[in-house]
Symmetry: C2
Subunit: 245 residues, 2 copies
């Protein structure tokens, strides 16, 4: 990692196109640029290989052109939605990449916990703010979160996506939604059997995930919370914990 | 069914709220008003109890106020999305029901194959046009379909949703999308084990549905069809063939 120039992007993996498995764009063919590094360390992180610095020797420092060349190779040069995920992609310099892709008709969605605001959020097509509930072990700094919202200047389509494992998470989700009544809210049952970073084929408790999905549907219905969307991680249902799909 | 007054609605079932399992509104809490009767008879129909006239003695002829009273009882008086489905709900007089619900802040989505156009399509919040591919055994009259689009006068959010079982269906979906480049397209893998009308607990081949889902994702990716959404029937994954959820 020596000699890393300022404009380089720390990349954990670039893969796709495959369908987006979460949130507002579920089902849409997407190329994923997963950046390396995160200012959070969620207890149930399902992308530790892009978070834990123990894996940083698997990350690459790439120029915008290098990232862009991989994206266009994967998409066969046909404009596609690009999801900037991580880790926390907000800690990477991604503004230039977005401008580069927009010139060729690609679109960009970014998913972040909302801890670090960037001016270039306003250039996105979709901003997914995914504040982390109590079960993550993290604490939300709402001032930082609101700064993220302000940086977007109302330009990208913006949504809240909140992972829910238990009652405390659910209460957190309700409060987060109440703080931001203008934002569409997506709830996602947590996967309590996330893949260990070294084992692509680790078993996943699909029955447990679906049980939590049914519980979550029952909760929102019982509360008459009718403006929310409840969606499972579709890729997990289709492919389990396998990476790169 | 004697003495049925003109304004009455033929109802197969009213249930919910539960989450919408298909298409653009997947995951959204919804009350379903399933009307009885259909001008189509698709080979793989998953709602035969609302289609086949053998079941018409289970259907009720209800006034707008009767339907509305059931919807509001189910939603506890809290505005919710109401899905008008069937059968083909377009053959029922639903304009007054929509106006009734709008006055109380409810929203309405209608799902139809697009064979019968109605002026009141323009009053919907969402119009889902679901033309039936070759595997259904039905033939699409595109003039009638286009009349449906015209009736909506561009007012509701409108989407195409197409069930895909095989290569011929996929080719049909591509052609339908090409005819209507302005409409978002949702592809849905078919369920080849739909529930028999008399057996709520009939087994469902989830593995087969997911196999078809993976196949469909592979098809759109291989074709670089990047503007489409591929979504399974979420309710089937969560609850199997069970009715009323």
């Amino acid at each position: 990692m020596t000699g890393m120039r300022p404009a380089e992007i720390r990349v954990s993996e670039i893969f796709g196109p495959t369908i987006q498995g979460e949130g507002a764009l579920t089902g849409l063919p997407t190329v994923f640029v997963r950046t390396g590094g995160c200012d959070y360390r969620c207890s149930w992180c399902d992308s530790l290989h892009a978070v834990d610095s123990a894996y940083r020797d698997e990350w690459r420092a790439l120029t915008v052109e290098e990232v862009w060349s991989e994206v266009t190779r994967l998409s066969g040069g046909v404009p596609v939605m690009v999801s900037l995920s991580g880790g926390n992609p907000a800690i990477q310099p991604l503004g230039e990449l977005i401008a580069r892709g927009h010139r060729e008709g690609y679109r960009f969605a970014l998913e972040t916990q909302g801890s670090v605001a960037r001016d270039w959020f306003a250039d996105l097509d979709m901003l997914v703010l995914s504040p982390k509930p109590p079960s993550s072990g993290m604490e939300t700094e709402w001032d930082d979160f609101d700064a993220c919202l302000r940086s977007s200047r109302g330009k990208p389509q913006t949504a809240l996506k909140i992972v829910v494992f238990d009652d405390a998470d659910y209460a957190y989700a309700r409060a987060a939604a109440a703080r931001h009544p203008q934002l569409p809210v997506y709830l996602q049952p947590g996967n309590h059997t996330p893949p260990p970073p070294d084992d692509d084929d680790a078993p996943i408790d699909i029955d447990g995930v679906m049980e939590r999905m049914r519980w979550l549907v029952d909760r929102v219905i019982a509360d008459k919370w009718f403006e929310v969307r409840v969606l499972p991680q579709l890729h997990v249902l289709i492919w389990g914990n396998r990476r790169g799909v």
